[in-house]
Structures are given as structure tokens and as C-alpha cells.
Subunit: 156 residues, 2 copies
């Protein structure tokens, strides 16, 4: 098992407790899976969790991911055309590079200063809470294998 039983609690356990969530092996495994697989979709998380806990139901993973997202222990991102993906890096307002060809997702730090695009030219009266920036393009490998063109097939 990946659990830490040496006196002090493992990081996931502490994180769950700090968020007033019950500590279950399923949730610990989900947290660890998200840590180990940056930007993993639910399918990937389920498989990763089952390496340690073969019996988990997909529903438990869905539930855990929702709960963890709600309390802010993981973050859910869903670039257009993609299923839900989860990441553990939270608290900072970082953004994402998404490859149009292979769907690779990479983190990037905030662009300009600290909260770059957090001030739209006019906010239409909205109370703005968060700015989410997604950069679309081609990752190094895909760019290399399709020289000259940006989008190899179609993509928008």
C-alpha cells in the first residue's frame, strides 16, 4: 500500500482531515492518483486507483473527484472537446497549454504580473471570481512532425 503508517499521517490523509472530510482509502487513492498523473481524465484516475485498490467502483472515483473539487483539493479542467481532467496543483492561478493534435496539457504560470487577465476592459456588471486562460497550439513533438502547418488535420 502507499499509505504511510509511521507515526504522522500521510499528506493526503492530512489534506482530507483539514477539509473536514472523512478519511477513506478510496479518497486517499484518488488524491494520490491525481498527484501522480497530471491532468488525468477520470478513466485514467480510475485505472490508477485500481492498481492499489482493485475493487473501487467508478462511482466512488466520480464522487471523490467531485467532493475533492468542491473543497478545493483538486481542480477540474475541461478544455473544449475534452472530457473532465483533474490536477492537484491548486491555489495559484496558473493556466494551461493544450496541444490540438495530441491533447497534451502543460501548466504555465501567470503571464503578465500576478493576475493577468483578471481585469476585462468592461465587466458587464459581473462579479468576477476567476480568470481561466487556455493556450491552444501544438506541443513540440506535434509541431515537429507537421512542419509548416499549425493544425495538421482540422481542429478549431
Amino acid at each position: 500500500m502507499t499509505e504511510n503508517k509511521q507515526g504522522h499521517e500521510s499528506e493526503p490523509t492530512a489534506a482530507l482531515r483539514n477539509s473536514s472530510l472523512r478519511v477513506t482509502k478510496q479518497r486517499i487513492a484518488v488524491l494520490e492518483a491525481v498527484c501522480d498523473h497530471q491532468h488525468a481524465d477520470t478513466e485514467t484516475v480510475i485505472c490508477a486507483v485500481r492498481e492499489n485498490l482493485p475493487e473501487v467502483s467508478h462511482q466512488a472515483v466520480y464522487d471523490s473527484l467531485h467532493t475533492l473539487t468542491e473543497v478545493g483539493l483538486v481542480r477540474c479542467i475541461q478544455p473544449s472537446g475534452s472530457v473532465a481532467r483533474y490536477e492537484r496543483r491548486i491555489g495559484d492561478n496558473h493556466h494551461h497549454l493544450v496541444c490540438r493534435s495530441c491533447n497534451l496539457i502543460v501548466d504555465v504560470d501567470c503571464t503578465v504580473g500576478q493576475a493577468p487577465c483578471l481585469t476585462p476592459s468592461h465587466d458587464a456588471g459581473f462579479v468576477i471570481e476567476q480568470a481561466e486562460v487556455t493556450f491552444w497550439g501544438l506541443c513540440p513533438e506535434c509541431a515537429a512532425s507537421s512542419p509548416g502547418r499549425l493544425a495538421p488535420a482540422s481542429a478549431v
Copy 2:
């Protein structure tokens, strides 16, 4: 009918022709529906199209939207947790305000200068093609009806 038969072609017809697409009444109706319903989802587009063309199949609308998106006559956006939505305003790199409570979407112009967030601090070797910025928050009405709090229920 909304079609223009007075000598020169209607705008949608011309747009289709300019994009080397066959001019069909279904595509014209889809283009007009997207114009008339900013940020409409596919369901809404289908209903709008059927007001003029009661017999259109949902598939024709899906196909048209895909084709129109491919040639750049409409743009498809998919904020997290939302189904695909389409808009006619294209060519400028404008962004969106999305209300977490009622899902209202409003356009905003580019924030800083012309291409605000188009330069991530490090691009991880990506060839960047487009930056997509989504501002999450509460629209004026929802903000008014839930004073003090930003997100009424849960949200991320």
C-alpha cells in the same frame, strides 16, 4: 422566410459561397440562428432553425455547425460543465464572462492591449495559436440575489 431574394444575395448566402460551401437552406438557417441567439447551444439552434424549417434533422444541424466551425464562420465555445455553444462573432480574439449561477455568457473585448495573454511566461516549446480566456463569476442579477457570497451553491 428570412431569406433575401431582392437581387443581391443575403449575407449568410454570401458567407457560405465565400467559404466554398454549398448553399443549402439548412446551412443558411443555422447561420441565422447562431446570429440571432448569441452563445446558443445545439439544442437552441435546432429549435430556432425549426421555426423556419420544421423538418430539419438534428444531424443536419450538427453537421452544419461542424462545417461552419471548420471554415471559421462560427466559433464553438465550451466552458467547463457546459455543452457546446456557438457564436457568430469571429475574427477578433474576444473573450467570455460566464455566470456560475445562471450560465449566462457575455462577450468581453481583449483585456490588455491587443493580444493580452498570448505570451505565456514560458511556452514549454509549444507553437501557440490562440489564447482563450474565460472569466468566471456572477452576472449582475445573480450577484444581486445572492449578496455577500460569490458562489451561491458550490462551484469550483
